[in-house]
């Protein structure tokens, strides 16, 4: 599920993950400063929830614990640099990222904090292409897309990239963009979806790349309140925090 690994951040913070997902997210963490930073604040938050439960433990617990630690060897310190917890880069620097990571990079962690009115989680992927190596991730995305597309209030609108269209469901709080004859973006660029609010502000959605056949699917989970349109631009790999090029498609709600 490597393309969706960012999406595990919240679930990881509350331990709502399977052992496999936990391992996957922890493997991802050192390479992603956004997730590392965000995770820190989320864990401080869940610590508040834990503290609120505080009760005086039975006195016997102390004896048991100290008896046990008396015969428990301690692990030595972990090797390796702690450089993973590097300070936050400025959001504007986000457009320049190494190519290897760019693919998987979405800008939502900071975005959702900045924009109280649109809580956006991008779950981007490309079905049928080589980008999603993991079959399970494909299946999960396909399943999610199907559920949105089959929602009673789902409606479909032309997106303007070949015959690509957007499917919007308020009930599912989801937007799906998909197409099967989408032209390729310029070299070094990929498409990015934007959420346009009534006040004209634009919020970064997922990036997506059609495969060699022109197929793509991407999905966005969000509340629709105040959203007036969706737009697509071409952005450098990894996407941008704000559009850096002309909109090539706009769908007004």
């Amino acid at each position: 599920m490597s393309d969706n690994v960012h999406g595990l951040l919240g679930a990881y913070a509350v331990d709502a993950v399977t052992p496999a997902e936990r391992a996957e997210f922890e493997a991802h963490l050192p390479a992603c400063e956004e997730c590392s930073l965000e995770l820190g604040s989320l864990l401080e938050t869940t610590a508040v929830l834990a503290d609120a439960e505080s009760t005086a433990p039975p006195a016997a617990l102390r004896a048991r614990v100290f008896e046990e630690i008396g015969r428990t060897a301690q692990l030595p310190p972990a090797d390796g640099p702690a450089a993973d917890a590097a300070p936050a880069p400025e959001p504007v620097a986000a457009a320049v990222v190494p190519i290897e990571r760019a693919r998987r990079r979405h800008l939502w962690p900071r975005l959702a904090v900045a924009a109280a009115s649109v809580a956006v989680l991008a779950v981007a992927g490309v079905i049928g292409g080589g980008l999603v190596a993991d079959r399970n991730a494909q299946l999960a995305l396909e399943q999610d897309v199907m559920m949105v597309a089959s929602a009673p209030d789902a409606h479909s609108m032309d997106l303007g990239l070949g015959s690509a269209h957007l499917v919007v469901s308020e009930k599912m709080a989801s937007v799906v963009a998909m197409g099967d004859d989408c032209p390729s973006p310029d070299d070094g660029m990929e498409y990015q979806l934007w959420v346009v609010m009534a006040d004209g502000s634009k919020h970064a959605g997922p990036t997506f790349m059609p495969d060699s056949d022109g197929s793509f699917v991407t999905m966005l989970d969000m509340e629709m309140n105040g959203v007036v349109a969706f737009a697509v631009t071409e952005e450098p790999h990894g996407g941008s925090a704000q559009p850096t090029s002309e909109e090539i498609a706009v769908v007004e709600l």
Binding site: A16, A112, D221
Partner: protein, 215 residues
């Protein structure tokens, strides 16, 4: 070990909710965090005295969290013991620059509790003690353990949960407090997996912003 604790009087408990509004009741977060980090680092070098001071400060939360999640008092005590021993075992791996000692310890505790709930579910012999929060009979309670922090935090949590939408509260309840995985949450609510993940995340972020928590 510290049987002398029993000689200490129980602390007066402020009236419900007042603690959050009285400025003097608010613990100094920075001093608290620095002290705990120092204790945990020392514990990591094998300092059992430091570990005991750490125990006094955090065992109440570790235990209370275990009780809230696994419900059964006996299992909760086992979970708390395992978690606290795990803290001792891994203490040298704690990196103060990556987060607070409090969240590091409580993350271990939460994970243990949730793992236990999932195992218990697998055994399908989970004991249910709905509602009532466990409390040991007064004479068995470890009064050395500091639970003062809890009163302020509990009021803060009550207020914080009010800013969540009902759906976000539900997501948090089922995951953080009941041990559902994101997939189980999606399945039990009949929502797309992406929506479930987003809802969990939005809930925690909203709490964080309401409480102005920083890493």
């Amino acid at each position: 070990m510290s049987t002398d604790g029993r000689a200490r009087p129980l602390r007066a408990v402020p009236a419900d909710g007042d603690a959050a509004r009285r400025p003097g009741a608010r613990p100094s977060p920075h001093r608290d965090a620095d002290e705990l980090a120092d204790l945990l680092v020392r514990a990591g070098r094998g300092d059992t005295a430091a570990f005991e001071l750490l125990y006094n400060r955090l065992a109440g939360s570790v235990h209370g969290l275990a009780v809230r999640i696994v419900r059964d008092p006996q299992i909760a005590e086992d979970v708390a013991q395992e978690a606290l021993v795990e803290v001792w075992r891994q203490a040298a791996r704690f990196r103060p620059e990556q987060g607070s000692a409090r969240s590091w310890v409580l993350t271990i505790a939460h994970r243990r509790a949730v793992d236990r709930v999932r195992t218990e579910q697998a055994h399908s012999n989970r004991l249910v003690a709905h509602g009532a929060r466990h409390s040991a009979s007064v004479e068995d309670q470890d009064t050395v353990v500091d639970t003062m922090h809890a009163e302020w935090q509990a009021a803060r949590v009550r207020q914080g949960l009010e800013v969540l939408t009902p759906l976000q509260r539900e997501a948090l309840e089922l995951t953080y407090y009941k041990g559902y995985t994101n997939r189980q949450l999606a399945e039990s609510l009949g929502i797309p997996l992406g929506t479930a993940k987003a809802r969990i995340r939005d809930a925690v972020i909203r709490l964080r912003d309401a409480w102005e928590v920083t890493a």
